[in-house]
């Protein structure tokens, strides 16, 4: 695992995020758009829910036969002139890519957007070995300038405001006239394009992720909105696809099923602007294309999820809808989650990939409001899976002792109705005395509550006591 895990500090990260006025501004700006665009796109497609069902069933079928589809995929990549490299973990994946780059004497590599390369920490790894990775997706380019990691699956620079981007560009693009106007998002985009154009041409290797891998043809599929992925993979000598193993689908038609869901759920469009299929290297007579085509297939803990309590998570197609609809994500942004994947999907996937000891905070940091499950295009029961992690933690005594102790005392009473009735009747009377004005401004054992809110005092006698009195008076 190369990218450092900062998830145990979720609460501290969250506090920092809540105090970050730029971040809060950026989050407030993005929330509404994502939700409304998805809603409009979904409403226009009457068969949307039926499509979700077939996508879910299809994923379950693929996961049940993952070995077969991966073998078929490999065979067809080779048949179309490509190479397949199997990587058990991040280190292996990075090493495979480094070897290809070194063999081709690559000084720089152009990169399309890839969360898997974030998972392996590829940029840092290559840079440390003298190879300059250049992110070509606008959002990725921005955060690379800032020395940051993505804070969202499909909008990596979601946490940055336009004003911050302008400042970053002025700082980084020192060759350009300082008096130039960068007020409009389009002028920022034009400047990034101009800066990237040369870099595309000079990069010896292009690396992209994959949204899907098609077993029947050995093709990889990427969706982008800027076309940067196409330049990345066609202009370089070698195109390296880095993908995790669960991205494989049986046929082109199956890929179409997921493509119909993906853009609608992710960005509220019927399709992304570019959907690019790549099969093998340049053939004789092709006007362009890479001379070599490589696929690095990363496991990194996923095969351990097969057949277990978290297999459903492997259905994920990385649309980002769960985080777009998550009240916790919208309060703190993606970086607070402390690893590659934020939001509800990150809260389930992170402990699966880095271990519950390091990722266990995340499935706890949910109100279980259920909106993520409601919008998931492949119907992943995210709250249930988060609860599964909480159970795993409980079984292994990983929660703080105070939580376990408190729960134990409460359970001791709750399992004894008579004792419970007497004890709570007394406790509520006492609490009532403390909160004579109707509410308490501070409570020693619930300072988390009273730091931000008043605590409404109990009425006094419990319902069960009063009901008994009512029964007796009849």
């Amino acid at each position: 695992m190369t990218q450092a895990v900062n998830s145990p500090q979720f609460n501290q990260n969250a506090r920092k995020a809540l105090d970050d006025s730029y971040l809060q501004k950026a989050l407030a700006r993005s929330e509404k758009g994502f939700i409304e665009r998805r809603k409009a796109a979904v409403e226009k497609l009457p068969e949307y829910d039926a499509l979700r069902d077939s996508a879910r069933d299809l994923k379950d079928h693929i996961l049940a036969h993952l070995d077969l589809y991966l073998e078929a995929y490999e065979k067809n990549v080779i048949a179309s002139g490509g190479h397949v490299h199997w990587a058990a973990n991040a280190e292996e994946a990075n090493e495979i890519i480094l070897n290809i780059c070194q063999r081709l004497n690559a000084k720089s590599v152009a990169k399309g957007k890839s969360m898997i390369s974030e998972e392996t920490g590829l940029n840092t790894y290559l840079e440390a070995r003298g190879i300059k990775p250049i992110e070509t997706d606008l959002g990725e380019y921005i955060i690379q300038l800032r020395g940051e990691t993505p804070s969202h699956l499909i909008a990596p620079a979601l946490h940055v405001t336009k004003e911050q981007i302008e400042a970053d560009f002025r700082r980084a693009h020192t060759d350009l006239p300082p008096e130039r106007n960068l007020d409009e998002p389009t002028s920022l985009l034009a400047e990034a394009r101009a800066m990237l154009r040369d870099k595309f041409l000079s990069a010896e290797v292009g690396i992209t992720g994959a949204n899907f891998l098609i077993a029947e043809t050995g093709s990889s599929v990427i969706v982008t909105n800027e076309g940067n992925g196409d330049l990345t993979q066609t202009l370089a000598k070698a195109h390296i696809v880095i993908s995790s193993i669960e991205k494989v689908v049986p046929t082109r038609e199956d890929a179409a099923t997921f493509l119909r869901l993906l853009a609608r759920t992710a960005s509220g469009t019927d399709l992304s602007v570019y959907t690019t299929f790549s099969t093998g290297a340049r053939r004789e007579g092709d006007p362009d294309g890479p001379l070599e085509y490589h696929v690095v297939l990363l496991d990194n803990g996923r095969s351990n999820m097969l057949g277990g309590k978290f297999q459903e998570m492997l259905r994920c197609i990385r649309c980002g809808a769960c985080m777009n609809h998550c009240p916790v994500f919208h309060a703190v942004g993606g970086h607070a989650y402390g690893w590659v994947y934020p939001g509800p999907m990150g809260a389930v996937l992170t402990p699966s990939l880095v271990g519950v000891e390091k990722g266990g905070q995340l499935p706890n940091a949910s109100t279980f409001c259920g909106r993520c499950e409601e919008v998931c295009p492949v119907r992943i029961p995210l709250p249930k899976l988060m609860r599964n992690w909480r159970e795993r933690e409980f079984e292994r005594h990983l929660q703080p002792a105070s939580v376990r102790y408190g729960l134990g005392i409460w359970a001791m009473f709750a399992k004894r109705p008579v004792l419970y009735r007497r004890a709570t009747a007394l406790a509520m009377k006492l609490l009532r005395l403390l909160g004579g004005k109707g509410r308490l401004r501070s409570l020693p054992l619930a300072s988390g509550w009273t730091r931000h809110r008043d605590f409404p005092a109990p009425q006094g006698e419990t319902f069960q006591t009063l009901w008994k009195k009512r029964d007796a008076s009849r």
Binding site: N11, A14, R15, L18, P327, V328, A331, V332, N364, A365, S366, T367, F368, C369, G370, R371, E373, R387, W389, R390, E391, R392, E393, F394, E395, Q399, V403, L407, W410, A411, F413, A414, K415, P417, V418, Y420, R421, T424, A427, M428, K437, G438, R439, A446, S447, G448, W449, R451, H452, R453, D454, F455, P456, P458, Q459, T462, F463, Q464, L466, W467
Partner: protein, 261 residues
Amino acid sequence: MSEQATAAVTKKPIRVGLFATCLVDLMRPRIGFATAKLLEDAGCVVEVPAQTCCGQPAFNSGDRETARDLAAQAIEAFASYDYVVLPSGSCAGQVIVHYPELFAGNAVWEPRAKALAAKTFELTAFLSDVLKAMPAARFEGSVTYHDSCSGLRELGIKAQPRKLLAKVEGLTLVEMKDPDVCCGFGGTFCVKYADVSNKIVEKKTASIAASGAGTLLAGDLGCLMNMAGKLFREGKPVRVRHIAEVLAGMSDEPAIGEPER
């Protein structure tokens, strides 16, 4: 179910076991009495068997064994009633959705859990869908209604409370922005992740205040206490009640967080 159907036809009174929920039992008994009144006015016989908690805090904390023990306790306590009614969407969801899950594959308890689930209802769903009751209440003023998450997403409760409120004389319902977005309560979440929870409830109270309604209603006391506590702290003059209090005509009693008289 056939026995219940027969009971309805022969007008034999329906026996309802009232599961008050631990929060209502301990914090705000008047919601329990409002619930009983609504059921009795509709012709039900209401009983309150000895009860504690549905087990949701244990279930959501990962303590499946305690959750199962408390579920079994509730299944025993409420087995004999025609129906079981709870003035809470999240506790009703625990019984209806999660009890059968907790005992999946258990030859003795799974059928019992399913039987209880089949006759258990959240209050507004029971009044509206089963009893088709039209409570006759008056309320002068405007209210806004927050859809608590579990009731909404586990049980599909959205239309029922609004349908019932539409029958209350003098009441105007003003929808807030995003009534279906979480208030940030989340059980122990609001204490464990206090600052995140606070950010979420701040957005909620802003929507509530912007609606201009004088009273906030919802069907779950946890969410109500969270929002009431925040409204008080922010000095926003919105009164907060459980929907049952308004439907039962008990709106002259102190609202949540107001001193008892």
